[in-house]
């Protein structure tokens, strides 16, 4: 049971990341591959505050959100100038730069050592070291973020985002200053990713830069694309599928010495098959 609870916690953290990235990739049509950087910002803000200062978990989450919004604002302003594929490559760049900062700004982030000993959240004497309680907390956060995302996508703001995805030049003529909208959704999704980072740091009690690489952003992107673009439930389904799949494959009896590599082959082939036969993802609405 302990194992399933652990998987459920990982699932809810990556569902938050999937839902938040879906707002940018699925609804606004911007291929951002830097989500793991904001995921890392949230994790490191919480880790540094919880280990070095007396700040509590929940206030560290809020501070993480603020730092993520500030940074995403700067990056968003620069990114809004890039068009099409260049947007994606620009995000490759920002993810690499932020990862280099995590790795080399030793006196802040302790560099390659990572930060151990991150305490668990404290709230009216609930023992969050017990994974089940932590799972409930994670699911509450997921529910909250899902509700906010749903509110946004159902609002006129969400409609404008979809219009930007469909035909940005046209919606501009009808009076929408689209860079503001793209910047707003970019920052909102960054803030949500920071929350996921804070949860991850406090759950694992140890983080190091290797969890926030470029390939992690590609993994979150795969969740959104596999699950379904412009469909929040799709992002959740994608997270469920991509967290469970490697675990199920642990039980599939590949011969031991090539078991791990075979899983990578299966993972790659699944990505290709989904793109070939179901490009809008499992329950996606928008064809990529």
């Amino acid at each position: 049971m302990e194992y399933l609870i652990h998987l459920a916690i990982l699932f809810s953290i990556y569902a938050i990341l999937g839902v938040s990235l879906n707002l940018v990739v699925g609804y606004t049509g911007l291929l951002s591959v830097t989500h793991a950087a904001f995921y890392g910002i949230g994790a490191y803000t919480t880790a540094i505050l919880l280990t070095k200062t007396g700040v509590g978990f929940f206030s560290s989450v809020i501070l993480g959100i603020i730092v993520a919004i500030a940074l995403s604002f700067l990056i968003g302003v620069v990114l809004s100038k890039f068009k099409g594929d260049y947007y994606a490559i620009g995000t490759f760049g920002f993810n690499t730069i932020i990862f280099a900062i995590f790795l080399n700004w030793q006196n802040l982030t302790m560099g390659p050592f990572g930060i151990p000993g991150i305490s668990k959240p404290e709230l009216l004497s609930i023992n969050f070291a017990n994974n089940f309680n932590f799972l409930v907390l994670a699911l509450i956060f997921l529910g909250l973020i899902y509700f906010i995302a749903r509110f946004i996508t159902k609002s006129p703001f969400g409609r404008v985002l979809k219009a930007i995805r469909e035909d940005e030049k046209a919606i501009v003529v009808f009076g929408y200053n689209t860079p503001y909208f793209k910047l707003a959704i970019f920052s909102i999704s960054a803030a949500m990713a920071a929350v996921a980072g804070s949860l991850f740091a406090s759950y694992l009690t140890f983080i190091d830069p290797s969890s926030f690489r470029l390939m992690e952003s590609a993994f979150i992107l795969a969740i959104v694309i596999l699950g379904g673009l412009a469909n929040l439930r799709g992002a959740i389904l994608g997270a469920l599928f991509l967290i469970l799949l490697p675990e199920i494959l642990r039980f599939v009896g590949f011969p031991p010495d090539i078991a791990a590599q075979m899983r990578q082959v299966v993972y790659g082939v699944i990505l290709i098959l989904v793109m070939l036969y179901r490009p809008q993802g499992l329950i996606g609405e928008y064809k990529l």
Binding site: L7, L244, P246
Partner: protein, 365 residues
Amino acid sequence: MNKLTKWVIGIIVVIAVVITGYFVSQNSSKVSTEQIKIGVVAPMSGNLAFLGEGIRDAMLLAQQDLGNTQYTYELIFEDDQLDSKITASAVNKLLGVNKVDAIVSFGSGPGNVVAPIAEQNNVVHLGIASDPNVAKGEFNFIHWTPPAEENKVFVEELQRRGIKKLGVFESNQQGAAAVMADLKEKLKETDIEIVTDQVFNVGEKDFRSIISKAKNSGAEIYLLMAFSPEVEVLGKQIKEAGINTPLTSIEAFELSEQVDLFEGEWYVNAASPTGDFTTKFEAKTNENPTLGAANAYDIFNLIVAATEAFKGSTKPTPNQIANELTTIKDFNGVLGNLSVDEDGIVISKAAIRMIKDGKPVDIDN
């Protein structure tokens, strides 16, 4: 999105969850009384897969060499790609499904992830890692020659050879950074000065420019603080830059595949692993031992030793094994004689060695 696809997707989700549940329940074996299960978490895929494979082969080798023991020892390997979230999943799977009695992890990062989980679940955890923080807690141990030990021997050797100017190439990877931090402290008390300190990323293959930076630093010897494959590429490019200043390292030369690159160079090694471990490992895998392979072999035997100490009808509880581990002194391991100190660090002596016509050899100075 018609009704049909919604139903189809719903069914797929249910099936996926059911499969996981089925696999989990079907495999979670009952706790057996005379079988000790050792779960090993190591990188088996990704670019450091060869290290995980070395750990696995070393432990399988140790299992083979096991004489007759009261309990049987089963090994279960799980891949974690040195990625924290997968390490956590692998450990929870080993605990929840396989009900392992002991966990072995590789690397300081994964070690720090496993330690709190092992402590919470009262399961013995031995990390092949240099970060002492991994050994915090009653159930956690690490088996890596502590940086202080290695640096003590290294500084003595520098002073013996009258070297005043040291050049350093260091990878910003956990193990290397831990050793360097400690070395810089030690050198403060000596008159040895680090004249150039070049840092590079793991996976770097083009060191030419940082070599040019260090070239005229006047260093009498260069310390290559990195592991394979970076250390071989670095050594090759230093020679290609026309530099023939002596090179040294801490442990890296022993594990290198192109040992003749470092012909005639002395270096510090964890301990002088007994000759036959290397030959046995090469016989089994026709590859030379990788980083941490000797440590893994020792760890398997340490667990066996701690468990066999209990002659009771049922196997000892993890607490008993943990306490027994702390009492181990002068255990004759592959990495020389090992003893476990009170905060769970397996101390093994460090030794100066040299590469002589392609073979690591002891220098008895």
